[in-house]
């Protein structure tokens, strides 16, 4: 009987094995699910929407698209041709032609590849008429960025082909696609880009397309990119760039009542059109490798400078808030502030008063001794300097200093505002006193800020105690602005303490003995503060912060000019000229303006280079 059952037994076992195998293949294996992307019988093609335009706050077009023409080649379709004529049309040499032809053939004989990229419009016109003679070549239209206003490259950024790292992070992109890699193009990439449409096409085994996959059930239409209106005033931006000619540094101008960035200047600058077209990679390499003037560093956002004297505003406000000084309490300055018994324990001062001065005078004369004294009182109000430092730190950071602003700009730096732990790290035995940190009082020492942080601090003062996070996008059609840009951030300083300080800042410009009296603009009530920041790289930096008008301020600005000697030499005039230009639309100081346009600090920069 055993013999009879064997075949039946094997039949049942075999069928069972087959069913189990099918179960594994068809049910358990996810690899081959119904996703058309995983289906080698389906070709995926993309429909790219036009990238959104970028306008300035007054509707002036800053970034547009231009058509570009690539000459494509399918090597196996190329017939013998008049090489000389073809090369002349494309403006390439015969060697070039042969090299490119070999390269295309090596890549693939049947898949099209780019023969010459981004032919200019005029060449295209000539070529278009004659191209019928050259079999195997055709023209592929592409969309490129175009910058009608040749300024603000650091703000606008640029687009480039995605690399594999980006693809790994964001599966939206395919190799060869474009992505915003800097500036606005990066932060608002998804808004500007829109969404590409996808078409699935059914193929047979010869890769011949035999129609749309499932009648287009999975296909999507492209969603066009949104246009963006920036907060930038392109006229002001260009004017600022012109004033900063031949100088290095950063300027940030903010509208205090909204936090909108009116100008964001980084010098030296370059024409954003360099980042487009056939010469793009050569241009980029040149800019990237310029390690001396570093044009790709956005000095408005990334350069961290000691803030210098403008920081005295914070010292005054914290001292008032902590109640260690009043507006009438005085200090007498004898060419400096002695904070220890040693010969070197003195902070020099150039205020030149010598008589007891109050807060107002201390501000417009920028007296180091007064603020060192006030700062020391804040720290020493607490039993341990550690606690004092932390209280001070909390006040300072409430101005948006010492941390990222967390805004819609693609780059940024934290700057530095030290706290108790910071000094515990510097002095590991914990034995440090307020005097060890005394330089912070006047914006030297361990304090570091970026121009945008300082501009934001100025706007905070102009607002009498709060700020809106500075941002660059004013309006995106169809998309509401991020809520974090419309909520005010309050400082830890009471509103009442701001008025006396602002009076002091007003006096800096208005009082004949004020440090920036020379930069006064008749008819505009400017509140400002000069700064001269010592730095390890060479000549002092020239710094100026200002806002105007005094009441209901329209603009707050911070100007850093690297190695510009002192505040009122470069930064002061530049800041006030910009304020004048912005508020009145013109300037009345042709001599000052001319000096800024033509003035150069190149010899100082060369000196640094020699030292290195």
């Amino acid at each position: 009987m055993k013999r009879i059952g064997l075949l039946s037994f094997i039949i049942i076992i075999t069928s069972f094995v087959f069913i189990v195998r099918l179960f594994f293949l068809q049910i358990l294996s996810n690899e081959y699910n119904q996703n058309p992307f995983n289906n080698s019988a389906v070709k995926v093609t993309y429909d790219y929407p036009e990238r959104g335009y970028i306008y300035d706050r007054n509707g002036i077009l800053m970034v547009a698209n231009q058509l570009s023409y690539d000459i494509m080649i399918i090597p196996r379709e190329v017939k013998p041709l008049d090489t000389l004529e073809f090369c002349n049309l494309l403006k390439i040499t015969k060697e070039d032609f042969l090299k490119k032809f070999e390269r295309a053939k090596r890549y693939s004989t049947r898949i099209p590849s780019t023969f010459v990229a981004q032919v200019s419009k005029s060449d295209f016109a000539a070529l278009q008429e004659k191209l019928y003679k050259f079999k195997g070549f055709y023209i592929q239209k592409r969309s490129l960025r175009e910058y009608p206003i040749k300024s603000a490259p650091n703000v606008l950024g640029y687009i480039s082909e995605v690399n594999e790292g980006m693809i790994a992070k964001n599966p939206y992109y395919q190799l060869g696609e474009l992505i915003g890699t800097a500036g606005i193009e990066k932060t608002y990439e998804e808004t500007l880009r829109g969404k590409k449409g996808i078409k699935f096409i059914q193929r047979d085994r010869f890769n011949k397309e035999i129609g749309s996959y499932k009648n287009g059930a999975y296909d999507t239409l492209p969603i066009p990119g949104h246009d963006i209106t920036l907060t930038i005033d392109s006229k002001l931006q260009q004017y600022g760039e012109a004033l900063m000619a031949n100088k290095r540094g950063g300027i940030v101008a903010i509208e205090p009542s909204t936090g909108e960035i009116l100008a964001l200047i980084s010098m030296p600058t370059y024409d954003p059109n360099l980042m487009v077209g056939r010469e793009r990679s050569a241009n980029f390499t040149k800019l990237y490798l310029d390690s001396v003037s570093r044009p790709l560093l956005d000095r408005g956002l990334q350069a961290q400078y000691p803030p210098g004297s403008p920081f005295k505003i914070i010292s005054a406000l914290t001292a008032l808030q902590e109640g260690v000084i009043t507006t009438t309490s005085t200090t007498t300055c004898h060419h400096g502030y002695r904070y220890g018994s040693g010969a070197g324990s003195i902070m020099r001062c150039h205020c030149g008063t010598g008589y007891p001065i109050d807060l107002n005078i201390a501000i417009y004369r920028s007296c180091n001794s007064y603020f060192a004294n006030a700062y020391r009182k804040v720290i020493e109000k607490y039993k341990k300097p550690y606690d004092g430092m932390n209280v001070w730190n909390k006040h300072v950071e409430s101005f948006g200093l010492g941390n990222y602003l967390n805004n819609d700009l693609s780059v940024g730096q934290k700057g530095n505002v030290p706290d108790g732990d910071y000094y515990n790290r510097v002095y590991p035995n914990g034995r440090w006193r307020s005097t060890a940190t005394i330089s912070n009082a006047i914006g030297q020492g361990e304090v570091l800020t970026t121009p945008i942080q300082l501009a934001n601090m100025t706007a905070t003062v102009a607002n009498r105690g709060f700020y809106y996070t500075p941002h660059i996008a004013k309006h995106i059609d169809g998309v509401p602005l991020d809520k974090k840009f419309t909520i005010p951030n309050y400082t830890t300083i009471d509103k009442k303490h701001f008025e006396p300080v602002i009076e002091g800042l007003f006096a800096v410009v208005e009082n004949p003995s004020g440090t920036a009296h020379w930069s006064r603009v008749p008819g505009i009530e400017i509140c400002g503060k000069t700064g001269t920041a010592e730095n390890p790289h060479g000549q002092d930096h020239s710094i100026f912060i200002a806002f105007a008008p005094k009441d209901n301020p329209k603009i707050a600005i911070a100007v850093f000019v690297e190695n510009g000697y002192w505040g009122s030499r470069w930064a002061g005039p530049i800041a006030t000229l910009m304020i004048e230009k912005y508020l009145t639309g013109k300037t009345d100081r042709p001599l000052v303006e001319e000096r800024m346009f033509t003035g150069s600090i190149q010899d100082e920069y060369d000196k640094q280079l020699l030292k290195k």
Partner: protein, 425 residues
Amino acid sequence: MRSKKMNIFHGIDWVLVLLYLILIFIGWLNIYSTTFIEDDTALINLSTEYGKQLIWIGLSFPLIIFILLIDAKLYEKYASIIYVVSLFFLAGLFILGKNINGATSWYDFGGFSLQPSEFAKAATALAIAKLVSDKLFNLKKFNTQLQAFVILFLPAVLITLQPDPGSALVYTAFIFVLYREGLPVYYITVGFIAAFLFVITLYFGFLYTWLGSLLVFALILMYFIFYRKKAFKNGWIKIVGIYLVAALFIFSVDLVFNHVFEQRHRDRFNIVLGKTADTKNIGYNTNQAITTIASGGFTGKGFLDGERTQGDFVPENQTDYIFTIVGEEWGFLGSTIVIVIFTFFFLRIIQIAERQKSKFARVYGHSIAAIFFMHFTINIGMVIGLLPTIGIPLPFFSYGGSALWGFTVLLFIFIRLDANRSYEW
């Protein structure tokens, strides 16, 4: 009695006929799915493959009537003659045959061609049935075993020489039949061990397999020495002899595989054993077939909606790879149903064979069950990647007149024999 005999449908097993019709119908649907022309409005277009297959199916009905008209006894009587004629047809291929795809397996009759190997299976089954049913025949004797093997070897060798080794492989199915009729068990045991050693040798290589077998041999030897001293004393020559044969076999597998096989054969084995992951050249078919089946999911993509079938991704998907269409368009559910129908079909044949009074009919029934099953196993096993690529048709499914008629003849001779079971022989 006479009048009953005149009714050719009398005594027919309708279950088998029904299963046959179901399989033919499902098979044709799948051929339609892969070969229909999208814009063709004609329901039946005879120039297409599904149209031609419909003609083959249509013509198989007169063939069935013809088979049923012949007296059952004549099949037994003329079995030897049919067998010899079929051998002649196979041999004649070497002179008159037409070469298609590298194999001279066809007679060309101007427009349509016939493949004699499809009919030789029926002839061989008849011959074996005739031989085994002989009253003097005893499978325990080596002489009679030899006779049976010669009957099997002749067509198998002729078919291998065409060359069509896949179709020749089907003749190994007869070992089940002979075993059923009394062939000693060691033929099957040796067969399985040989197959096992073959796969193991290919997978692990000659050296490791040989070392492994040496270890097993040493263990067996120790067992005998310590526990079965007496048996060992009497039979040690046998034990050592068996081992030497096994070692020789392992060695020869290695030799044959690496030096006699051609690269394409080696590739086929290596792909199934997972030793080469080739998805472009030789592995393309298997890879595409598996992907296509897997893409069907649980319920499949629906009739005519399998994009990989419609895109003709799997080569030969109307013939050898037709099961991929079932997998893709009907999914796990459909595939399982097809496998279950086939299983019922095989088991039904065996069941009917066992109820035969005539030994001839019983042996014949077992023979065709084994042949159908062998086709089923090799074909589907290959398509779902469990067996090496061996091109043989799936019964009643694969496109082709010869195959369809061959299987029909095979089945309906048995139905005719079975219908006659109540009469005296």
